[in-house]
Symmetry: C2
Subunit: 161 residues, 2 copies
């Protein structure tokens, strides 16, 4: 299969130095603030971004090596195929998270609801557009077995190190 | 900045041979069916995916070369910073689209609402989980200037070739 070489466009700074104890998703990260340090040569690409309340970040799980095809995710006690989970130990180790935008100063983009490790290499920033990105009618498979799971309170352990 | 090497996990087959005339987003692609040809060695990763109604695909805009920092997107007549748009001619040329899952047979994942070119290299498949991925309160900056824009009817031209 085709090899694709990409280059980080910046770094995400967050309060999380260790996978252990991190929120498992942005919704569990209310109040966890961070900032993007964008490459200086890309600053012009941020024009008009401040009108958006949310950004979807694409980034590399840089502390992950290798992948598993079946994993027991934080939100269940049985295993599922990796593509039916958001677990990081996946082929290409790429993550997406939608965060809240606070503001922009030069090459710094201040964000809230971060759920990634400090020093995470950033691959892309997409504006979140509700009309494109929301799917009100979506069904969520095994994740619906336990709709009362307190996702907001779950934190990660070291299982995917 | 850090170089990141990734490898396609499969190929997306769609009805669109040419950028010209494609829907610009999955919401404009109701009824456009396609399928993912996953690498055979990754089939185990699909287990339990069929419980999800929607998948978010991460893929390479493989017909794009180079990038622009400011672009006039299909949905406006003035330019914006590339990170305030979903235009493909962006650093790393990576796209995300949420599509509807129809079914799985072996290494084939049948999908609907596709908005990418035939032969697109696939980088990852994430299950769409409404509780993580919807942002009902999001504000969409310049995209809100014209809330009546018939996005569902817009098709692309060759401006980003």
């Amino acid at each position: 299969m085709e090899k694709i070489e990409i280059e980080a466009i910046g770094v995400i700074h967050t309060p999380f130095d260790d996978v252990k104890g991190m929120p498992i998703q942005p919704m569990g990260a209310q109040g966890a603030k961070g900032w993007i340090e964008l490459r200086e040569d890309l600053i012009a690409g941020l024009r008009d971004i401040e009108g958006f309340s949310h950004l979807t970040l694409i980034y590399r799980f840089h502390k992950i090596s290798g992948y598993m095809l079946e994993v027991t995710p934080f939100m269940d006690v049985v295993s599922h195929g990796i593509f039916a989970t958001r677990s990081p130990k996946r082929p290409n180790a790429i993550g997406i998270s939608t965060v809240r935008l606070i503001g922009v100063e030069g090459n710094k983009v201040f964000i809230d609801q971060v759920d990634m490790l400090d020093g995470t290499p950033l691959i892309d920033i997409k504006p979140f557009y509700p009309r494109y990105d929301n799917r009100f009618e979506a069904k969520a498979g095994w994740l619906e077995k336990n709709p009362d799971l307190p996702v907001e309170e779950l934190i990660s352990d070291e299982r995917f190190k």
